[in-house]
């Protein structure tokens, strides 16, 4: 349903061209939930912003992103607008800044239906009200008339989720939906996403660095580093037995209250490479305990690596 092939995104900056996404390919089947994991510089967000046509003007994109058979890259804005918000929706990280401050919740939700489903404002607002109740916002009628700043963080995120589901999209891209929220609200939002998935049966691309959320929701996990996919495996497999050293390190560093307390907090030495740099060989080699001379010269390709997993590593685990 969503097919990304050889996607490359570069940004034109004053002095150089910076590659944010290098040759990324991934696919989502209908109804599937894929967790896209990575840290700063991984390119995970840019990949999906490209699908939504939301990259800045200084972005140079090549490759292909096909959604329900239609090519999205370089599609005309009018064509793109038929798809986004309706068949393909996106939820953003910070619901405070991602909702328009001077429009009421009701208007922001209803306009999606007015625009895509051709409903009248009255009918659209009624449906929006229903959706607010579906996402478990109490006192929905009053909330419809309120402005985003009058709602709490958790409620705003529910509004965003509800807003994205109004046209019953085939795919919802959730970009760090829990990062800006308190831990006790995380759980509620993840549960809500799971419930909505059961009810609407849409596919979800969950972009997150929160491995707990990914573990709870994802069927499959894609790990990105320095603009490339480094591992791709079913969720159960990847948490039990990661193949790529970066994935293993990431799991080791994840905050874990259940495990015993360690004396030194785990971390990966060094830092991710500067996106402006073009490195020969594996981008993770500088920080990898298993790296050898070959890793520094020859970039590993994404290959099958035990069962349904794929890893881009010369010395997978």
């Amino acid at each position: 349903m969503l097919q990304i092939d050889s996607l490359c995104i570069e940004f034109r900056q004053e002095r150089a061209r910076v590659a944010a996404v290098r040759d990324v390919s991934l696919a989502l089947a209908p109804g599937e939930c894929v967790g896209v994991v990575g840290e700063s510089g991984s390119g995970k967000t840019q990949t999906f912003l490209a699908a939504m046509g939301l990259l800045g003007r200084n972005a140079l994109v090549s490759g292909s992103i096909r959604f329900e058979g239609r090519e999205l890259l370089a599609a005309a804005t009018s064509e793109l607008n038929r798809v986004r918000g309706a068949r393909l929706a996106m939820i953003f990280q910070d619901p405070m800044t991602s909702l328009t401050p001077h429009l009421t919740v009701g208007v922001q939700m209803a306009e999606v239906l007015v625009c895509h489903a051709g409903l009248s404002w009255t009918a659209a607002k009624r449906k929006a009200l229903d959706m607010l109740q579906t996402v478990r916002i109490a006192d929905a009628a009053r909330r419809m008339r309120q402005y985003p700043h009058e709602l709490s963080g958790g409620m705003r995120q529910r509004v965003m989720i509800g807003m994205s589901l109004l046209c019953e999209p085939a795919l919802v891209i959730a970009d760090e939906p829990t990062s800006a929220l308190d831990a006790t609200i995380h759980v509620q939002v993840i549960e809500l996403l799971a419930a909505m998935r059961r009810e609407f049966r849409m596919a979800i691309a969950l972009i997150s660095h929160d491995l707990g959320a990914v573990h709870a929701l994802a069927d499959r996990v894609v790990v990105m580093y320095a603009g490339r996919v480094v591992e791709c495996a079913p969720a159960t497999a990847i948490f039990a037995h990661p193949r790529h050293p970066y994935t293993a390190e990431l799991l080791r560093c994840a905050p874990n209250l259940s495990a015993a307390r360690l004396n030194r907090m785990p971390s990966i030495t060094g830092q991710p490479p500067d996106p402006a740099e073009v490195l020969p060989g594996c981008a993770f080699a500088a920080r990898c305990a298993r790296a050898d001379a070959r890793c520094r010269i020859e970039r590993p390709l994404l290959v099958q690596s035990g069962g349904a997993a794929q890893a881009a590593c010369h010395h997978p685990l």
């Binding site: 409620m155 831990a183 830092q271």
Partner: protein, 319 residues
């Protein structure tokens, strides 16, 4: 007797006035008291609206306190005049959450690290000054060649190292860390936290470590304070808190962080700090709430060595 390196907070309250005098002020911090000993790390845990950040700022008089005392080595910081306070600030430093935003973008690293020396040790020779800056860069894990760079040229982790280095320049006896690693990638956090722990151990300084990340707090703290809507609801030594949390909110926090722990999954949101429910602030979300919880605000009671809980019904709670 001046208790060296000891911070004692007594009955500290911080309020923010509302738009009209008709409305009661927003109580951000309510009657908080605790002690930090030299070389001790106190973890402050809570979510948004808990008041932990406001508390830290009030201790340093970055925001005005409504009532209470902050005794640093026996002297009340809140009633000091500006000159004396400035001298005390040498010993009390803070590291902020957003690494890049906390650094002046027009100052090089060398300028940033040199400024505390200019303020507190103006009689240093130029050579001694350079030597101190170089030594600090090294301790913070930054290469010497970075001294003439500007903050925007650094990654988040490096910026935070600069922020920590700056805080350490005046050899503080107490370091407040307000969510020092929340804005950093998970794989880098350990580097910064380990740096802080090493610095603390080497210099015997005390730390107030504010974070919403329980695993992180468990790692660094000797004792932990849990906040909810401006009040201190549980204090305990680290192991005691994580092995046997008592307050229902603490348990809920743990359950959210580790699904294998018992504790209710919280529904709803914290009530607005503008309209706190009477009695225990947590009762509108607590599954164990009963009528008596609406009566009065629960006081901290000692339930075992060093373990205090503010809950009317702690005796009746299941284990």
């Amino acid at each position: 007797m001046t208790p060296d390196g000891v911070l004692q907070v007594k009955g500290l309250s911080v309020q923010f006035p509302r738009r009209t005098a008709a409305h009661p002020p927003l109580m951000a911090v309510l009657d908080v008291s605790f002690v930090v000993g030299p070389g001790e790390t106190l973890g402050l845990v809570g979510e948004s609206g808990s008041g932990k950040t406001t508390l830290a700022r009030a201790i340093l008089r970055l925001v005005p306190a409504a009532s209470g005392e902050v005794l640093w080595q026996g002297l009340n910081l809140l009633s000091m005049d500006a000159t004396r306070l400035r001298r005390q600030r040498r010993d009390l430093q803070i590291v902020f959450q957003d690494p890049l935003a906390s650094l002046d973008p027009r100052m090089t690293v060398a300028d940033i690290l040199g400024e505390p020396l200019d303020v507190h040790e103006p009689r240093l020779t130029a050579d001694a000054r350079q030597a101190r800056i170089a030594a600090m860069l090294d301790q913070a894990g930054l290469s010497a060649g970075l001294r003439d760079r500007y903050p925007h040229e650094f990654s988040g982790g490096q910026c935070q190292r600069v922020g920590i280095a700056r805080a350490m320049m005046s050899n503080p006896k107490l370091l407040i860390c307000d969510e020092p690693v929340s804005a950093l990638d998970v794989s880098i956090r350990g580097q910064i936290v380990n740096l802080l722990v090493d610095l603390q151990r080497d210099r015997g300084m005390a730390m107030l470590f504010i974070s919403h990340d329980l695993a992180l707090v468990r790692h660094v703290s000797h004792r932990v304070l849990v906040f909810y809507l401006g009040r201190l609801i549980e204090i305990a030594p680290r192991d005691s808190l994580f092995a046997a949390p008592m307050h229902p909110y603490t348990r809920a926090l743990m359950a959210a962080a580790a699904p294998d722990r018992p504790g209710q999954i919280l529904k709803g949101e914290p009530s607005s700090p503008l309209e706190p429910p009477g009695g225990c602030a947590f009762r509108d979300r607590c599954t164990h709430a009963r009528e008596l919880c609406a009566g009065s605000v629960p006081r901290l009671e000692e339930i075992s060595a060093g373990h205090f809980v503010a809950c009317h019904r702690w005796r009746e709670l299941p284990d």
